[in-house]
């Protein structure tokens, strides 16, 4: 009992030191913006770390943690895991993680589909769980605001003292290092990192390979070829809705390949001039809409596009109502191929590259994630009483042992080592009762997200079909790197202002986009549309975005 008291005291002392350091650091950050000398910042940080050195003098640390302890951990239960488990605690992964680290974790899961609401509710409580996993870049005002609100604990000293694994990774990957801190250099999270190029692309176009073969057509690469193929599907194959996809999914529609073809995604992107653009007001977007409107009236696109969900898209693709779609490599291409083959033996779906307007050019745009993805990002909250324990738990995933657990699970059960490479066992890949994703969800987190570095070897094995392996190569062959916006962090006021403006703009954009596509609005009114959006202070948002980008680049 006495021992325990000491420990709490130590934790509190450390926390006080960390908070003090953060206070000084933010203060300096603000000055920095105003053009003050950065020297004071370094001295202040040196001071702070000097203080903490005495508080955490441990060198010979090893898992499992000797004294153990309990931490509360708030995290969304991924839908694939939720299909068979009610809590991460029940999964083999959760059990093993606790066994290996010697730390008891009390997982708290928000109701599926209500993550954002429950997150806001959570913050209104006075006592937070020790660790919260969330897409923190979406926090109103960004991560910096979360620190200022007293929700998130700044981690600079914590990482120095207790996180040798993460520290080593960041030193080896300066690009990632740049992404996961705020503009003034404060670390705040344990990030989810795509550990390879193949992992950064997951969506793209796909169409019926057997039909193409039957019709003697090539995989389309330009918009005109797509038009021909879809027309042929409609007329020759009797597809009632030749092209369909889950329009309601924001992740998909933000990356609509046909809009990309005209160089105008509906959202922000970095233009050739290196500044941030808003695609939905540019001429390319109009051309995209016009094409869609034409295709729609020609019956090449599913008339119910706006009111679709994944169930129906799956049904339409697999029963031949539709012949082409846009979706994910795993849950679309893989799943549909499997389902389609149960009724039609030679059913194949082949990936198509992101289309361009002119034939033979490498597509400028395509879907691509940053290394650091805005999801599954874990922070230690200010309510955490044992910061060291929490840091040790989270740092575990970035070490070798943790990396294997998060990506491949338990050796001998979910994977085996064959000539130095981890190979998933049949329990995962050929489970008679469960799909691969569901089977994986019991043992690893690589098939969704979390605070660890995702391993490329996961994708190589997860995608079992040749088409899938090909898809990743085809889809990722774009110049998208130039155009994606890194995880910038606007200031508190800026993000508030931006959120307000963009909320209005996006609602209007979505409404009008639908009207244009359905032909309820004539393209004569395009200029009005652009003016209306500009009248909603779009320029101010672009200004904010560009400023944030500049700050990011100067990190």
């Amino acid at each position: 009992m006495i021992k325990r008291n000491n420990k709490i005291k130590k934790g509190a002392l450390l926390m006080a030191a960390v908070v003090a350091a953060a206070g000084i650091a933010t203060g300096c950050g603000n000055k920095d913006n105003g053009g003050a000398a950065p020297e004071s910042q370094t001295t202040a940080q040196a001071d702070a770390s000097g203080k903490t050195e005495t508080a955490a003098p441990d060198t010979a640390f090893s898992y499992p943690v000797a004294e153990g302890g309990t931490l509360s951990y708030w995290v969304e239960l991924n839908a694939n895991a939720a299909a068979n488990y009610t809590s991460l605690n029940d999964t083999e992964f959760g059990k093993k993680l606790q066994e290996n680290t010697g730390i008891t974790i009390e997982f708290q899961h928000p109701a599926v589909g209500q993550v954002a609401e429950q997150f806001n509710l959570l913050l209104s409580n006075r006592t937070l769980p020790d660790i919260i996993e969330y897409s923190w870049l979406t926090y109103a005002g960004g991560p910096q605001k979360a620190i200022e609100d007293g929700v998130v604990l700044p981690l600079n000293d914590v990482i120095d003292s207790y996180c040798p694994n993460l520290k080593a990774y960041l030193e080896a990957n300066p690009d990632v290092d740049k992404m996961i801190k705020t503009d003034d250099g404060t670390y705040y999270c344990f990030p989810f990192i795509r550990g390879g190029e193949k992992l950064k692309t997951s969506t793209g176009l796909m169409l019926r390979g057997d039909w193409l073969e039957e019709l003697g057509m090539e995989v389309p690469t330009t918009m005109d070829e797509w038009h021909d193929v879809l027309t042929a599907f409609k007329e020759e194959k009797g597809a009632a809705a030749p092209f369909t996809y889950w329009y309601g999914s924001q992740g998909l529609t933000d990356n609509n390949p046909f809009a990309y073809a005209y160089g105008a995604p509906r959202n922000f992107y970095i233009g050739d001039d290196g500044s941030v653009h808003y695609g939905a007001v540019e001429d390319g977007y109009r051309e995209y809409l016009q094409t869609m409107n034409r295709w729609m009236s020609e019956g090449l696109i599913d008339v119910d596009l706006a009111t679709l969900t994944n169930d129906q898209v799956s049904a339409k693709i697999t029963n031949g109502t539709a012949g082409a779609s846009f979706g994910w490599c795993g849950s679309s291409l893989g799943t549909w191929t499997g389902a389609g083959r149960t009724t039609e033996e030679d059913f194949t779906l082949v990936p198509a590259p992101y289309p361009s307007v002119e034939k033979g050019t490498k597509p400028e745009f395509g879907q691509k994630d940053n290394d650091f993805v805005n999801m599954g990002c874990a922070v230690i909250t200010t309510s955490c009483e044992n910061v060291e324990l929490a840091a040790r738990l989270l740092d575990y995933a970035y070490g070798e042992e943790g990396h294997m657990l998060f990506n491949f699970g338990i050796e001998g059960v979910s994977y085996t080592m064959e000539s130095g490479e981890p190979i998933y066992t049949d329990l995962i890949l050929k489970n008679p009762d469960l799909s691969i994703t569901h089977a994986m969800s019991g043992y690893i987190r690589a098939n969704y997200n979390g605070p660890f570095v995702q391993d490329e070897a996961y994708a190589d094995q997860y995608y079992t079909l040749d088409e899938q392996k090909e898809a990743l190569a085809v889809w990722s062959d774009t110049n998208a790197d130039k155009h994606i916006i890194p995880p910038v962090t606007p200031t508190v006021d800026e993000s508030k202002e931006q959120a307000q403006i963009m909320n209005e703009i996006n609602t209007y954009r979505d409404e009008m986009t639908l009207k244009f596509i359905l032909g309820n609005k004539s393209f004569d009114e395009w200029d009005d549309y652009v003016e209306t959006i500009k009248g909603m202070s779009l320029d101010r948002v672009l200004e904010i975005q560009n400023a944030a980008l500049e700050r990011y680049q100067e990190r």
Binding site: A306, T307, T309, L514
Partner: protein
């Protein structure tokens, strides 16, 4: 010869005795002893059986109550959920977009998709908000399409995705939807074979025939979840049954497979109770009709659970009985063992050589001595009993009001002692000189004094004495000749006093109650004497005090009304320390005074309790169950203070807690008001939405709000809106323009609310403004 004769005679006597004892007598004793054991055992067994049946009865009744409560709760709970599901349907039906879409003839055009998109979003929101529903859908008969929270699709695709099942074709499925519906519920099986309850309702269309049907679907899992939420006893089974044989519940498969159907006739008319056999086991079934659907809510209670409880009672009983008998056997072996006693007794004759050698004369002599001895004892027993009874009579005579019907009155009325006209009761107290009166070795002294007094007075008056509590009560009977008699008695007492002081170093105190007429006067006189004795402490130096002396000396306690007001105020403010301090002051001041009688001091305590009760607000209870007894038992000043401290601390802390709770509520309500002020422009804002935002039930929020502010939340929302309307009217805006700014969908609603709140229409208000 003599020797021989006598030897024979005595021998004969002895032999008879021996035979009697060892023969016949011996057997009866054993028999009786055996019977008594058997009786004890039999009684216990009988009792046990009685208790078992009693418990069986109780368990039966309790389980009946449990099922009734369960059923009531289930009916209220599940019906409420059905109601809210139905409400979704009605909302959808009244939606203008839905009405518009339902009126479109000949299938939807491309342009209509936008309208569908709007409805789709709305449906989705409703679906998410409800949380309970499996689907919300609209089936458009014209195009045979379905719009649900999963999107707009062909009816056949909807069937394929969610309801495809061997044995139920798409045509059958859609045919169901083609029929006209008006809020009926039907059971449908989905793709997974799960049952769903659909509530279907034809839409109303704008300007055309209704060509759509709206539906909500609730899955069996959800229904089971609702029921499981109510169930607290795992051995019970809950289910919902419809006369057509649909059965939903957390039933075990075997139970379900018995394909149980309640005969329709049984189900008609409210509640039913029946016993039946399912899958080879007996169940008790209770059912009640739902007021929202055609379902009956049913509780199945396995009879064996009832039996099990009863049997466990029986088991305990048997164990208890066994333990009792064993213990009884062991204890009787130690303390009371008639068998051993008998053996011992006969052992004396059979084994003790001395006794056997004793001669006959000695035996006879012993016997006669025994008889004499016994006679004397009996006599003194009678005498003592007579004395005790006399004391008892006297005691009744003195200490209780006169009752001429009692036997003892007659007995005393004829007694020479009470021949005189007047009676006087005197209470004598013997006190250590200078010290408090003590019980120890005073009994003897008291006896002495009593006798002395009796000797002295006996010539002049009739005297009877009896010990009464801490004193000796003396009834003196004679003629009251006023002052003369008093002086005579005083002189007697002086003598007794003198005797007491000289011989036994005690002080005598005589409290005289005064002469009263007749036997009925005795009690009066006694009461007077009691009152006098209360003044004992103040008359330290007197030996005799008469009632007449003290009659006019009653002193009351001091407790001013201002003091009481001060204490009450402090209590209401919750300042328990001040209250305690002031009450202490009052108690100390009054208890320190010796001229106040203990009885009067009790009155003070009662008044103080009254003060505390006044300090507590109406409707509050004060824990007073023990105070009356405790005060009546008499308390010292310290005890009284301690008592009040406890009472006050508890009461005050309760007042403070209540006030604190009220304060927290008001903080909460302020937040609600803030929320309303920020969101009144949203036409959807109502009590439910607000409650949803604050995550409490609407009814609780309403009552809390009303309690705290005096107006209902709805009134408050309207008031805020009307205030806004007034402002905008002043700025000269038209009613139509004001609508969205004040949170109204249309001007009709605005005008209605405005008129309700202000009594005039906005138009009139505008005129007034001008």
């Amino acid at each position: 010869m003599w020797r021989c004769d006598s030897g024979f005679v005595f021998k004969g006597v002895l032999e008879t005795e021996y035979r009697a004892m060892w023969g016949f007598k011996n057997r009866t004793v054993f028999f009786k002893w055996f019977l008594s054991y058997l009786l004890v055992l039999g009684l216990a067994v009988l009792f046990s059986i009685g208790i078992y049946f009693h418990f069986h009865n109780i368990i039966n009744r309790q389980s009946e109550e449990i099922t009734t409560t369960l059923l009531d709760k289930m009916q209220a709970d599940v019906d409420a959920r059905f109601r809210s599901a139905r409400l979704n349907l009605v909302n959808l039906m009244l939606d203008s977009d839905v009405q518009k879409a339902a009126g479109i003839k000949g299938g939807f055009s491309l342009g209509d998709r936008e309208l569908l998109y709007g409805i789709y979003n709305d449906t989705r929101k409703k679906y998410i908000a409800s949380g309970d529903l499996n689907h919300i859908f609209i089936y458009f008969r014209e195009g045979e399409t379905v719009l649900c929270e999963q999107g707009h699709m062909d009816g056949s695709l909807f069937y394929e995705l969610y309801y495809e099942r061997p044995g139920a074709s798409a045509e059958d499925f859609l045919e169901t939807l083609e029929r006209g519906w008006s809020g009926e519920d039907i059971a449908v099986r989905n793709k997974n074979g799960e049952q769903e309850i659909w509530i279907l309702q034809d839409s109303i269309a704008r300007g055309a025939d209704p060509s759509a049907v709206l539906g909500v679907s609730i899955s069996e899992k959800t229904l089971n979840g609702w029921m499981r939420g109510i169930l607290w006893n795992e051995s019970l089974e809950l289910m919902m049954i419809r006369p057509d044989g649909t059965c939903i519940g957390n039933l075990a498969d075997e139970l379900r497979q018995t394909a149980y159907r309640i005969p329709e006739t049984d189900l008609h008319g409210g509640k039913i109770t029946a016993e039946l056999e399912l899958a080879g086991e007996g169940y008790r079934l209770d059912a009640v009709a739902s007021s929202e659907t055609d379902f009956y809510y049913v509780v199945l209670m396995p009879l064996k659970t009832i039996e099990r409880d009863a049997i466990s009672v029986l088991l305990y009983m048997a164990v208890g009985l066994f333990v009792c008998i064993t213990l009884a056997y062991i204890f009787t072996g130690i303390h009371y063992n008639p068998l051993r006693n008998i053996m011992n007794m006969f052992g004396d004759y059979g084994k003790d050589g001395k006794r056997e050698k004793r001669n006959e004369l000695q035996w006879l002599l012993d016997r006669s001595t025994d008889v004499l001895e016994m006679n004397r004892e009996i006599r003194s027993l009678y005498y003592n009993n007579a004395q005790t009874l006399r004391s008892q009579y006297l005691y009744r005579m003195i200490a209780f009001p006169y009752d001429c019907k009692s036997g003892y009155v007659e007995a005393f009325a004829q007694d020479a002692v009470f021949r005189g006209r007047d009676n006087l009761v005197i209470l004598f107290y013997l006190e250590e000189e200078g010290e408090a009166w003590r019980q120890t070795d005073t009994a003897l002294h008291q006896f002495l004094m009593t006798n002395v007094l009796r000797e002295l007075v006996h010539g002049a008056f009739g005297v009877e004495m009896v010990e009464l509590y801490d004193a000796v009560a003396c009834v003196i009977n004679g003629e009251d000749k006023g002052e003369e008699t008093r002086e005579e008695l005083d002189s007697f007492f002086d003598k007794v006093q003198l005797f007491a002081e000289e011989r036994i170093c005690k002080r005598l105190f005589a409290a005289c109650g005064g002469f009263r007429q007749g036997l009925e006067g005795i009690y009066d006189s006694y009461c007077a004497a009691r009152e006098v004795s209360e003044y004992r402490e103040q008359f330290q130096n007197y030996s005799v005090v008469w009632y007449e002396d003290i009659r006019n000396r009653q002193v009351y306690y001091e407790y001013r009304i201002e003091e009481e007001q001060k204490i009450i105020n402090a209590m209401r403010a919750g300042e328990d320390q001040n209250v305690c301090r002031w009450i202490d002051e009052v108690i100390t001041a009054n208890f320190a005074r010796k001229d106040i009688l203990p009885g009067i001091k009790k009155c003070l305590l009662f008044e103080l309790v009254g003060t505390v009760m006044k300090g507590v607000e109406q409707g509050e209870d004060v824990e007073l169950s023990s105070f009356e007894r405790r005060i009546n038992e008499g308390m010292s000043a310290e005890e009284a203070m301690e008592f009040f401290h406890g009472l006050i601390r508890e009461t005050c802390s309760r007042i403070r807690r209540k006030r604190q709770a009220a304060k927290e509520d008001s903080q909460y309500i302020r937040e609600v008001m803030q929320y309303v002020q920020e969101n009144y422009q949203d036409p959807d804002l109502n009590v439910s939405i607000t409650a949803l935002h604050f995550e409490i039930t609407p009814s609780y929020l309403s009552s809390l709000f009303k309690e705290q502010t005096g107006v209902s939340l709805l009134e408050y929302i309207n008031r805020i809106r009307v205030e806004r309307i007034k402002e905008l009217l002043k700025e000269g805006m038209s009613v139509v323009d004001i609508c969205p700014k004040a949170g109204f969908r249309n001007s009709g609603a605005l005008i209605r609310v405005f008129k309700k709140e202000t009594g005039i229409t906005p138009g009139q208000m505008k005129k007034i403004n001008k």
